[in-house]
Subunit: 348 residues, 4 copies
Amino acid sequence: MIFASDNTGPTHPNVLQAVVEANAGHTTPYGADHLMEQVTQRLRDVFEAPQAAIYLVSTGTAANAITLACQTQPYQTVFCSDVAHIHEDECGAPEFFTGGAKLTLIPNDDGKMTPAGLRTAIEGEENRGVHGLQRGPVSITQATEKGTVYTLDEIRAITDIAREYALPTQMDGARFANALVTLGCTPAEMTWRAGIDAVSFGGTKNGLMGVEAVILLDSEKAWEFELRRKRAGHLISKHRYMSAQMGAYLKDDLWLDMARAANTACNSLTRGLKQNPDVTLHFEPRANIIFAAWPRAIHRKLHDAGAYYYILDGGLDGPGDAPLTARLVCDWSADEAKVSAFLAKMTA
Amino acid sequence: MIFASDNTGPTHPNVLQAVVEANAGHTTPYGADHLMEQVTQRLRDVFEAPQAAIYLVSTGTAANAITLACQTQPYQTVFCSDVAHIHEDECGAPEFFTGGAKLTLIPNDDGKMTPAGLRTAIEGEENRGVHGLQRGPVSITQATEKGTVYTLDEIRAITDIAREYALPTQMDGARFANALVTLGCTPAEMTWRAGIDAVSFGGTKNGLMGVEAVILLDSEKAWEFELRRKRAGHLISKHRYMSAQMGAYLKDDLWLDMARAANTACNSLTRGLKQNPDVTLHFEPRANIIFAAWPRAIHRKLHDAGAYYYILDGGLDGPGDAPLTARLVCDWSADEAKVSAFLAKMTA
Amino acid sequence: MIFASDNTGPTHPNVLQAVVEANAGHTTPYGADHLMEQVTQRLRDVFEAPQAAIYLVSTGTAANAITLACQTQPYQTVFCSDVAHIHEDECGAPEFFTGGAKLTLIPNDDGKMTPAGLRTAIEGEENRGVHGLQRGPVSITQATEKGTVYTLDEIRAITDIAREYALPTQMDGARFANALVTLGCTPAEMTWRAGIDAVSFGGTKNGLMGVEAVILLDSEKAWEFELRRKRAGHLISKHRYMSAQMGAYLKDDLWLDMARAANTACNSLTRGLKQNPDVTLHFEPRANIIFAAWPRAIHRKLHDAGAYYYILDGGLDGPGDAPLTARLVCDWSADEAKVSAFLAKMTA
Amino acid sequence: MIFASDNTGPTHPNVLQAVVEANAGHTTPYGADHLMEQVTQRLRDVFEAPQAAIYLVSTGTAANAITLACQTQPYQTVFCSDVAHIHEDECGAPEFFTGGAKLTLIPNDDGKMTPAGLRTAIEGEENRGVHGLQRGPVSITQATEKGTVYTLDEIRAITDIAREYALPTQMDGARFANALVTLGCTPAEMTWRAGIDAVSFGGTKNGLMGVEAVILLDSEKAWEFELRRKRAGHLISKHRYMSAQMGAYLKDDLWLDMARAANTACNSLTRGLKQNPDVTLHFEPRANIIFAAWPRAIHRKLHDAGAYYYILDGGLDGPGDAPLTARLVCDWSADEAKVSAFLAKMTA
């Protein structure tokens, strides 16, 4: 009954199998392997973007930070929500990679940046001439850290504003697949057709060992990306094992199947929680993450039964029985049995 | 007949098997997996360093650059040889990670920094007060990029000078194992007993998919290392697959066996080349790399037969038959048959 | 009738005279001039801090950013108010000089950081382990950008919290003198006796051509400061002209006289504005800056009469007669006549 | 008898007078003063470059480093001589301002970069693909740190190579005027007509209190320069005093007169030294700097008589009487009397 993070789950067997198969013989290193050629072609097809530059790195932080460094001058500021992963969970990676740019935080609504908030933030910069930072890229997280999902209209409303100010856009898609299956649209619709210039296309949280693809829909910065990746120690020498993972991920839409499985489990869990009068949901879950509160005693019961997940605002052993908020994440391997067991234990 | 790089070779089956086995169930991410506990303990045993801080990263560039960033202030300079990997092959990663420190290049002798050269370089800094950079760490590569190996006395002669000036020391051990089996000493003898403070303990070039251990023999900077690693996007979430690789590497001294195999193949190849009057060796190979020159016609013959390796100073199709220098690298999977076939083809 | 900024005003004649006098003959450059010796001694006396390290730079941004770089690791965050000069008016200098640290913005109350706000901000960091930035220094502006002044108790309340978390403290004292004469205390009382570790002791806004002193009350980082200053291009070669300015500034308490003159003019102006029913004050002015709103028509009248000051929220030519906010700054040369003329014009 | 540095000398009285005169009344800060308008126009005239962007900063290190930061990506390398000020005397400012670029050092001949050396250095980069740094700007020092001067043909030979590789060029002209009067050419001839893109036009060493102009002959990076200058704390608020200095410098060719005076004194000193059989000149002095060796006893005699200059390779009190190298610098205020007294003392 582990719902701690999609980072705690296993890798899909097909992916491991592909890694094992990739091991035969000698191969050109540093991304020039033939498996990567296939991955590039496949991702261009998937994104309907035949000119896109495609790169693999091993963490989402690297994917976001290297991309943002290509989009941001040191004297600019990146617009993101106040709960964005790039602000809260990367120990300052964007600041490091950009050479000291700033992040301008936009108050989130339901985990998301709002168009009004973005416009206010943009207008709040560049009103002090050379004394203030200049406007830089707009970065959104899809699905958000709160488990919500931008609709296509919401994405477009944001990128329209970015376009108005001639600012580039980036999508942190660590949970890209989870958002996509929720929206039921195509990758192209959720990205470049909605005005997104660069995507961190997550794989690690969705069944890979550790691979994220960066998709530069505008490939003008491709060579700069390669140099910044190398310089950051993120160019993998035995790259074929990265390519193999991503290849298996894309094959026969495994990535979508895994995301669907995670979301389905999350939906089941959400339904069950809603039926429990002791539970309050903080956001309406739209992907594979739930934030919900219930009394400490129930947390204790779950814990004693072996359930494992993050409690955000207190410990199991505190006094009283005030509700504590849990973050529950379903990964691709979460199934009905696990969900049922968890829900049953809550009310047992 | 591929001798292009130890990055082109396969992963050892034991390592792949360990990765597959590590896949069962859910595990704590970000290095808190139980496999990492075992790796830490095992590496402390191997290095006879019970207090050492141990971290895994996915590239040698990351290992070196994060370590050097912990050892170097931005206004200092790192002393290294003019053929050091950190100077020539990391696209400025040390400069990036340190916030703009400099590298002071010491002319190499046989691929190695000399004590006299180091002393001259150190004395050449800090003679301009605040106007020049301050002295920072001394970094050596073991085995060197030229396939040579520092003896224990040579390491000690260098670290003695570093100690004299109170400078920390770092060993880029991308080919640590190859050097170790050549010297026939213990890891402790080649590192902290010889005055080394921090080691990049390479695995990737020696049979892993992509794991390097950083060993901070002085653990004072351990927390700083963790923060810099995260901030650089090098903290792997599904860390268990890294731990599994390193665990298999260390188990039953697989790492030493693989290095021995590579060095043995290299020795055979060297012997064969020496018997060929058309061949001139540039360095006396001491690990798993050979630099040797022979006429273009022979390069062409090898190429036509499917041999693959780097030619440093010209193309196959140039005019004349002046000797061209080859770099030949033997990885753990190189065997007698491959070596013999190559040598036979040269003289066929 | 210029109240645009204390940067628009002239230099005090005594200061110019000292610069002219400093010109005789040859002198050791780079801060080793004998005038600097006197400045150092004098500032140590003024601050009752015989061990303090004292440096001169030519801008407040340099003073703040170099100091903060000495106090902040790249993976830390600086706590400051959301209207701090280091956030709003230095084009990211702290981020640049620290190698990409972050600023954590604390909502201001009356232009000031509150102890409660600081505690909340501090507690809001370091709750994500290695994933979030670590807590760094606390920086306050005295007097604030809003023309308000921290009382000694307010400073102490803030530094007590910093001490509790073992965080260093910095005071941006671009208008140090204006605050000091308001409080009627000693420099020691307003700084180290109140828990401040480092001070940017402003001179430029208060009658110098361009000199700020940095006072490191804890001199442990003195050499690092010197290196970072040089590396940033802020070590002035013909330093004697800097020393001469600061020497004249300190002589016979000229600096206090000038601040008193500025504050007195500001008080007169405030009194006058309060008597005008068309005027709304945004803050209670405590130093030499006033934020006040009045109808556009009056702004127009003042402008036509040659008054010059910043209007923050609209132009003279906009429609309607909604009140627009003016920022009025009195420098040391502002006198009763100028104030009276301005006030008279408003009601003329 | 002070020949220590052109940084030890006084400011020209005309310059001081201009500063005093600039003090009247209130003026727009941050470079928008009317004196700066005149300076910009005058420098555009002087350089015959009506489109050039012109900025003032207070140190040569700032001038060089901000300019290079505009010309260099962090993953590039700057080509300069191994005795360049940007390498030896700026404590890593170029590395800091560029975000960690490298300097590729070219062995100097007579203090100068040679075309052949430059070509070799350029060819030595970008031969490792993404693993090595990319080629960046070419920077030369005119006059050099060794007191030599590039001829127009020599400059052109270097910039021709830069053009061939599409690399920008920068001239560190801390002693621009000294070189110019030696060559007897126009500023345009020595810069853009010879292929130079950006110039640090020194004033501080040649009679100003502390002002260098940056001249961006290609103004494409002008706004970036302004942002980087501000962000580095180098935008001076009370800028009029900077403008006044530069205005006086340019007025009636004072800058050329001062450089001529310095060079003339240097020529006299050189002639005198050449007539002394105890003296060996290391370079043929072409500007205002002499490197020459003579026996320790003579150094001692000069020192006892109050002469002050740098001795590079030993102390006055060492044993024996081996020749020690002196660096002698003549500033604008050096006159025949001072030179004669020095020469007389040597042979007294």
